[in-house]
Amino acid sequence: MKFLQESDLPAFLEHLSAEANVIAPTDVEGLVQFRPWTAGTDVELDTLLSRQSAKEFIFPQWEPFLKYRYLMVCDAKRPGTAEEAKLELRLTDEGEGGGEVVAVSDPPAHELVMVGAEDSATPQVIFGLRPCDARGFVQMDRVFGGYGGFYFDPYYNSRRSLATLLVVTCHQPRSTCFCRGVGGGPAGSEGADALFTRIPDGFVAKALTTKGAKALEFPGFVDASEAAAHAAEEAKAAAEEMVSVPFELEGLREALRASFESVDWRELSRRCISCGTCTYVCPNCYCFNVTDEAVETQGERLRCWDNCFNPSYTLEASGHNPRDVKSNRFRNRFNHKFWYYPEKYDSLLCSGCGRCITYCPTRIDIREVLGVMGSGVAESDAAPSGRSESAAVGEAAVGEAAVGEAALGEKAAGDGEESA
């Protein structure tokens, strides 16, 4: 257990910045976000949660995979260009199924530059994350990190492996915090390389990994006194007390499965406006899209964040959209976090930060939605099973507050929600 004087924090970050980019929560005109730290910038730790987690520093909102440029342009209005490009169509060697027509150009008609994963990977130290933010990275690691051998994302991992997460335990959890409800806590250490706890005159810090130990080699750290260590433990216990457990985790996965059609998702999602705020402020959400963007003869292949509330998120090229209505998209968010992901990775895709509640334009409350599931919803007779996801959910004649009570009234199903 080490101790760092509060006044030595800038020197500590300065020390770290010799070998890595330092990222810390900063207050820019009242908006607290993780930003690159430079000497002289105040680290804002009084605000419990930044607007977004530090997710974007490991999984940026957009990044290029490759860049391309056409070297030869066939332009009917510019004589000679077609000849220059020497484009030909050739038939490849005939195989069993016949040959294939390919365009061959000599000299090459285009240039492709792959953006290597290592190109964007620089060592980073992220200071001031909360335990829920760090847990978010652990959940994303499972997806991007080749867990189960499906897929290894070199772009994510090149940044992740070079990042050191210095987590600061929570001092005054918000009313919307529910980390304890999802298996974490305001002093949780999952994903952290070192855990810092604020006490009146500084930080009590504990290294949890070799990366964390290396960060704590800064000479400003001294061995924590017994009193300091005790104060830190008290601060952690006090924070722990303040976080409520709003819903029952046990049996939740099964409850969600049972309520796929029996719970009135249309009623639960009424006030949702189908934007992506909840997913973009979430430390766990990782969905992305890949798109080519071209300007004249050159372009880029970009990966950019996407979200499951986006009406075109599941839109197929045929025009069919398996989640074509808002309530289906809404249901997916909760099912993904508490059923599908857990089924695959044996962990939840939620660390209980509560940002999705606080920043939802209509304050949709994940605790309330899951509480409905956990309240022992009986399968409604009105809900036929085995329907496609885009089938309209049987509508129960109940107000929002009463949704999920076992004795749901029935109303004619099939007054279909218009697709959007």
Partner: protein
Amino acid sequence: MSDRQEIIRELAREALAEGRVDYFLGWGQGYDASQNIPVFVREVTDVDRLQWNPLCHHNLTVFLKRKMPDPPDARIGVCVKGCDSRTLVALLQEGLVDRDRLYIVGVPCDGVVDRRKIDREFTGEVIGIEFTGDKVLARTAQGDSKEFDRTSLLLDQCGGCHYPNPRVADDIAGDTVPEPEGEPQWPSLAEFEALSPGDKAATLAAAFSTCIRCFACIHVCPVCYCWDQCVNRSRTPALVSQRVEKGENLMFQLVHMFHVAGRCPSCGACDRACPVEIPLYLLHEKMNKELYDMLRFEAGVDLEGKPVLQAFSLDDPFGEG
């Protein structure tokens, strides 16, 4: 205020009891006493969930726009303030909402309190806000509390509001409020308009550098209804890049501004939905000022009118002027 609340509840109760509406859309309390949310009431026994107080900022007509009513042919009771009613008028002008399926309760408005102004007064988490006369008492989870004058907390746009009374309604919740006379004023723009062109560009660039493209602003906008056909997301054509950076973010917002011009009364719903607090309202306010200065046009004030960009008149000014 509480009188209006009682009237809203009574009107909702009657409409539901008589089967005139499938559900009634109003405002209610969110997860604590400092939060306000849209509330959908389907049962007479639930009408007491409806509230009216200066936190009722939501423009509920967003739930009437294309693809929102559920089921699509629902008969809906809806509460509108002055600014909300103007977006409803815009939707009606375009024939996008079936007037016959609406029961509109107009709520004369004394101004809406800016929740963020209250948040900025405290370091802790505000969990309770109470209104007594013109006083506002806010308290935090940590036990701090402060009293404010309601007028000091109003949204900036309320200062320039010309139409606090609903422009369309079947019933009115209480007496109308006095409407300001004279030309519309744009007090919130004064600071921006005084800047040099360079400073304006810098101000916009800084404001839009924080955008996270969550699209809350366009989804919460009642007169922005293209959904999956939105040009800001479209790949074919790819007019707005998916690169989330200040220039492209500004481009995205300018597209929104132009697309809702003539239908947007600058109600500020976009602004309040923004999780990173970009002052989006100012863009729309600026457009409205231009429209007024050039064409003497105000969005959504007249059911018989047309959105300005859908109307052509030989008297329209051309070029400067």
